[in-house]
Symmetry: C2
Amino acid sequence: MCAFPSAVNCFAPDGCADWAELDPSEVTVLERKQYRRIYRRGETIFHQADEPQGIYCIETGYVLLWCMDAFGNETALGLRTPGESMGYRSLFAEEPHAATARALTDCRVRLIPRKIVEQLFDAHPALPRRFLRTLARDHGPPEALLLRGQHLPLRVRLANLLLILKEPCAVVHPDGRLVFELPLARHDLAAMVGVRPESVGRALKELEDKDLITFRRQRVTVPSIDRLLDVAGLDELP
Amino acid sequence: MCAFPSAVNCFAPDGCADWAELDPSEVTVLERKQYRRIYRRGETIFHQADEPQGIYCIETGYVLLWCMDAFGNETALGLRTPGESMGYRSLFAEEPHAATARALTDCRVRLIPRKIVEQLFDAHPALPRRFLRTLARDHGPPEALLLRGQHLPLRVRLANLLLILKEPCAVVHPDGRLVFELPLARHDLAAMVGVRPESVGRALKELEDKDLITFRRQRVTVPSIDRLLDVAGLDELP
DNA sequence: CGTACCGTTGAGGTGAGTCAAAGTAAGTGG
DNA sequence: CCACTTACTTTGACTCACCTCAACGGTACG
């Protein structure tokens, strides 16, 4: 369904940047550990309220981080793509997981157990500094506001979501068209922008009526990215 | 207007926990630096899009972190109280400030310049670990959802906001009543829960009609915290 | 005592929620 | 390959919480 991006070795210097400080010998040691696992589409990798086990690194596949509040509403906190880490926030906060990680596609994931993380952090002062940066950048206020701010019309938030999903999920065709193979269903898109799936459908149709996108299920085509940027940035009144 | 909490020495072991790892000699050095400054109510301490200068530590007063989007909407990201640090997220992210810090009351603030931060981090591996924890805990997903999730009725979000503001802004009277001296005006309360000031007024009135609170300007009295907890947690239908 | 700011009130508009039903694609087994 | 099941998506009607704008009232401050 969703074109798989090439596999990533989390520990290679060109892989997940978070571990780029390690030297080859340690990488070998890490890779020998038996913590690699395959998750099928829909499977849960870790669960909200569970105690953090370590840091998860995605080698292949897409993962959605989402959480549920006391009223049963699901909110998506972000999409994780190959090469990215997850589960570190709760580990560092010394708190239970605030989110559930669900495999959107079949995934290959490595877990670096907390003890190993501790050892590596002690041995390489640059590593905690690196994660300080990763943590400070992730789910940054700007993105959260763009997607979840209820001041902004839904179509603007969806346009922004598409622009954010561009890097991991879209390919640029020779003719300039942008084609997304979204790993997210309506339900998940809705959870990302904080509305109901029906509203996402209507808003997408609204964008389609303006010839900004065309879509069919999970495949979205954007004929001109510039026009989408206009909607996302500053929306001209109809 | 707002009862001042006692002053805090950011570097004392009992002060701001973020710096608790430093030993007394270094604390003295830090304190000798001329980076303490007084900000008047309403003054800006640092501004969205500015380059981060270092880590700010509040000794006295309240500070509101807020940001403005492309459409001119203001969103409050959090309240900082004496003993807390701020400005570190953008410093670690190596990005311009995502938020503006405005003094809600007169404030005494210390700035630890980035160079000193670097030196301290190199000398004390425990310091970056400490900030890893602080960063991972701050503006955590749970709180943001509680306050800004548009699924929840406004009165629920406001009740949650009051409960969050309880620790820094409320005193428990002998008879069990809880009395808040909010440093936040309607406008700021509105920015915290993501609605307009008028809606905050109406929602507060709604809570007052149910005898959950009484308020007059910035002073809010809660006769029974348990009943407020009920509203915040699981709202019974009228 | 006047001014400026903040807060309140009211009327009217609207974007998104809700619920229920119909439509469509993907997956399964014969 | 087709019939069947199941899950996802779309559509429509209705409701409501919050927004908008404008006018008014209070409080603080000079």
